[in-house]
Amino acid sequence: MKSLLKRGKNINLIIGLLILSTFLIMMLMSFFYTPHDVNAMNIANKIKAPNSVHWFGTDEFGRDIFSRIMQGTRTAFFIGTVAVTIGITLGTLIGGVAGYVGGWLDEIIMRIMDALMAFPGIILALMLIAVFGPGMVNTSIALGLMSIPGIARIARSGFIQHKEFEYVLSSKLIGVKPFKIMFQHILPNVSSPLIVAASINFAAAMLAEAGLSYLGLGVQPPDPSWGRMLRDSQSYLATAPWYTFAPGIAITFMVLGFYMLSNAIRDITDPRSN
């Protein structure tokens, strides 16, 4: 933490943390308080431009957009957290085993990872959702699985590099079990690029979730989702252009926050990157 503070000049870190902590506070607050009831409909009050009562206006059901943006942070953080947890855990395990064991096992695993990476963009997630159906949980699992190959590659290169180092060789000599060497000895030494990858994947998962929800294949109502809100706002683009800005800006800032954080972590942990 001290080294983090010492680099207080790191503008990415400051702005990134500022953005993310704002969203985090909004999320925590949403459990206790939102300015209006998130699901309270009031047709008489639909599509009202931002005013002093409804800061970001109201949607086509007269629901308060600001409150829904607040609650949308829960969906965003939930999807990001689940996707990154799945991606990092399985990716590190698969890539770590491939890199550490090497040989034909490595070859087979990495060819499968390459094949998974060959599916462009959200196609892999779309395929999983087509089969298993949309929804918050399925979306986050699909996005998590989608991120495994990229993380496996990063983990693998770290493990390959470190398995020849003396501390690993000497641990082997004194009979430490391979699993312990891999995850207690090597993993802490190769974790920096994985932490950067986790932060980038958080951003990527949120962008992908927004895209899927926009297509109507991600988070389903009544769960609030920024992507879904953007989808709904498109019908009112001509009559109520302000509707689209709150969810759009929320997604952009959230993703930007994670990008900035990942840049900052990379700059701090890898001095060569500058």
Binding site: I122, I123, L126, A130, G211, L217, L230, P247, I251
Partner: protein, 313 residues
């Protein structure tokens, strides 16, 4: 030559695995896929007919062999909803998606490459710092929202652009451009950000190499150094990124076609997921992925021709 052979073997392995993954995922549809596709009112006879039509009464390996044999010949199966071959449905919508993807890639190239070279010379000056931060925002904006903003600020105010629907090239070139330009820009912007960063960093790296110092010491003008020598050498690594950019652009068309109501392959894919037309979904996903894999293969081969060092390793 050995590089090319190795690359071909890798291509075959990747395509085989891609087909196996695509095939397997559709084997694990929860519940009875036939009943899902036909809806709750289907009787036993309809179920049996469709099962036979799709070959689902045969063992798995036979089903796979039959499917992959068809794919190799360009037969991606039969759509349930349209009762038409998947390949025919794809071909119908191909002009839209190809035009869109090509336009996006061209926009990325003509904006990102000159800009990257330009900013590399201004490394760490205010204009470079500002622009580099802008690229971060460009990568963070969801493409479909960007599309909506373009509709709002350009599509609705400038008559040239149509904000929904597609005009074929054969009917009106102006109309086609008007219907494709905004979506192409939408897809391009995040990729411009990615490409710009890559070009900028490659040129900066090249400028630090010995050969640049040597030609500079010969008294050659800086412009000549940059555009004759550095740009050429930078373009080779930049070429490899084009394979990745192409994959991202193709993925981008899926969402952006929805935003602009373009009748392309992406729109077909999304609507077929909605209607649970599994053979069509499977066919489109396989088709898109094969095209992307092949494009990347050719980019790699081209790369090895342009840079003989690759073939040595």
């Amino acid at each position: 030559m050995t590089y090319t052979i190795r690359r071909i073997v890798l291509l075959v392995v990747t395509l085989t695995l891609v087909s196996l993954i695509t095939f397997s995922v559709f084997q694990v549809i929860p519940g009875d896929p036939i009943r899902i596709m036909l809806g709750p009112d289907a009787d036993e006879e309809q179920v049996a007919t469709l099962e036979k039509q799709l070959g689902l009464d045969k063992p798995l390996y036979m089903q796979y062999a039959q499917w992959i044999g068809g794919v190799a010949k360009g037969d991606f199966g039969q759509s349930i909803r349209f009762s038409k071959p998947v390949s025919e449905l794809i071909v119908d919508r191909l002009p839209v998606t190809i035009s869109l993807a090509l336009m996006s890639v061209i926009i990325v190239a003509i904006i990102a490459i000159p800009l990257g070279v330009f900013m590399a010379k201004r490394q760490n000056k205010p204009s470079d710092v500002v622009f580099s931060s802008l690229t971060q925002v460009g990568m963070a904006i969801p493409s479909f929202w960007l599309g909506m903003l373009l509709i709002l600020y350009l599509g609705m105010t400038i008559k040239f652009f149509s904000i929904s629907g597609y005009v074929p090239w054969s009917i009106s070139v102006k109309g086609a451009l008007g219907s494709l330009l905004l979506p192409a820009i939408t897809i391009a912007i995040p990729q411009i950000a990615v490409m710009f960063r890559y070009v900028r960093n490659t040129v900066i790296e090249q400028l630090q190499l010995d050969y640049v110092r040597t030609i500079r010491s010969k008294g050659i003008t800086e412009k000549y150094v940059l555009f004759k020598h550095v740009l050429r050498n930078s373009m080779i690594p930049v070429l490899t990124v084009f394979g990745l950019i192409f994959a991202e652009v193709v993925a981008g068309t899926i969402i952006v076609e929805q935003v602009f109501g373009l009748p392309g392959i992406g729109r077909l894919l999304i609507s077929s997921i909605g209607s649970r037309d599994f053979p069509l979904v499977q066919g489109i996903i396989m088709y898109i992925t094969v095209v992307v894999v092949l494009v990347n293969f050719f980019v790699d081969i081209l790369y090895s021709i342009l840079d003989p060092r690759i073939r040595m390793t």
